[in-house]
């Protein structure tokens, strides 16, 4: 009888409980609360990851502009999702190489692991690329 009552109590809780997902948590900006989120090895790691595409892509169109990859990372360092921003040299929206470049960059960004942080909050990290004279001139 006791077991039956226990089951009756616990069953509704199990039925209505939702699976928690760290990606659903509120995102804190990277500059807030001393989160200090970064990839292991910091920016040299990023530059190594993008080195091959930097060498291969030498005729990007439009030839100048800026790309930002915004990667959302959980409090445990897992990747959630990515937003991208492509602008030309006048900071107006553009699409480099008819979209092929951003697709390749996203693939590389998705392969990045070992995100570290000083405080356990969901946050985002930025990877910024500067395009000049048809090449990826800087990654930071």
């Amino acid at each position: 009888m006791t077991k039956f009552i226990y089951l009756l109590t616990i069953l509704p809780l199990l039925t209505f409980s939702q699976e928690t997902n760290d990606c659903d948590e509120r995102t804190m900006p990277y500059w807030a609360n001393y989160i200090n989120s970064r990839i292991e090895g910091e920016n040299p790691t990023l530059r190594n990851a993008f080195r091959d595409i930097q060498l291969v892509e030498t005729n990007i169109t439009p030839s100048s502009g800026f790309i930002t990859l915004r990667l959302y990372i959980t409090k445990t360092g897992e990747f959630c999702e990515m937003e991208t921003f492509q602008i030309d040299e006048n900071y107006e929206p553009t699409v480099f190489n008819n979209g092929a470049l951003i697709t390749a960059l996203e693939t590389i960004a998705l392969s990045l692991t070992n995100w570290e942080r000083d405080k356990d909050y969901k946050t985002y990290n930025l990877i910024r690329l500067k395009i000049k004279n048809g090449k990826i001139e800087e990654i930071f």
Partner: protein
């Protein structure tokens, strides 16, 4: 109690109603209510500037500059320096950053400007360093040191001078500049790293080894800012890699 609350409500309503719209707008900027602030005063440059901040920090420069450009158009003297600073530190758009710094400088004769708290010539030096125009960068960093005086200048003025001389192949001069930084403070790992590289170029491997150890020991004092990566930022991984290369010589 009820009458006190009623008095406060009526009082604050009257206080708000008698304020001109420009003051209401300034008050709302202080309260971080930028959209509302602009409803009261669409010409409040501080509101446009403040509205741009989160977008630029988060890498949405199209949106961020839509607002920041309005702030500059309304009050160039007040906001050009910040816009140049954002272009340099967050975008590495050196040419446009220089344009902003130079325009600001022309607007304020007889004043040494300090965009976002940093010496304008130091920032211009960084722009030229980023453009790999090392002679012009040297000119700017030297001007910054003259303006700020040797003992008070940003210590990284000397580090950058060393880096510029190194890039120009003037290794002896580079050593002199890195040592100038260390005369002001012993906790400058960028200088130790620069010295190690310069001595390595001069074939003085033992000296290079000595300084790379110092760079590693002082890495905790490196120039660091988790908002932005500095152009002369160094990393432990690079020091360790260089140290191994020296050990194998």
């Amino acid at each position: 109690m009820g009458s006190i609350i009623l008095f406060l409500v009526i009082g604050s309503t009257i206080w708000w109603q008698i304020k001109p719209d420009t003051e209401k707008s300034d008050f709302l900027v202080e309260a971080h209510q930028y959209e509302k602030a602009l409803e009261y005063d669409p010409e409040n440059s501080d509101a446009w500037m403040a509205r741009s901040v989160s977008y630029n920090k988060a890498g949405d420069f199209n949106k961020g500059f839509e607002y920041l450009d309005k702030a500059v158009a309304l009050d160039p003297e007040k906001h050009l320096g910040y816009r140049g600073w954002i272009r340099l530190r967050k975008m590495r758009d050196y040419d446009k950053a220089l344009l902003d710094f130079d325009t600001l400088d022309n607007l304020t004769p007889n004043v040494v400007d300090a965009p976002w708290g940093e010496g304008i010539d130091f920032l211009r030096g960084e722009c030229y360093f980023g453009k790999k125009d090392y002679p012009k960068a040297i000119e700017m960093f030297n001007r910054n040191i003259t303006n700020q005086k040797e003992d008070w200048a940003d210590i990284h003025s000397f580090v950058y001078l060393g880096l510029c001389e190194y890039e120009l192949g003037n290794y002896e001069k580079a050593i002199t500049e890195f040592q100038r930084a260390l005369q002001l403070s012993k906790n400058v790992p960028e200088s130790y790293f620069g010295l190690a590289k310069a001595y390595e170029k001069l074939g003085q491997t033992e000296k290079a080894r000595e300084y790379i150890v110092s760079a590693e020991e002082h890495i905790g004092s490196k120039r660091d800012d988790y908002y932005n990566e500095y152009l002369n930022e160094i990393y432990l991984s690079e020091i360790v890699e260089f140290k191994h290369a020296l050990e194998n010589k």
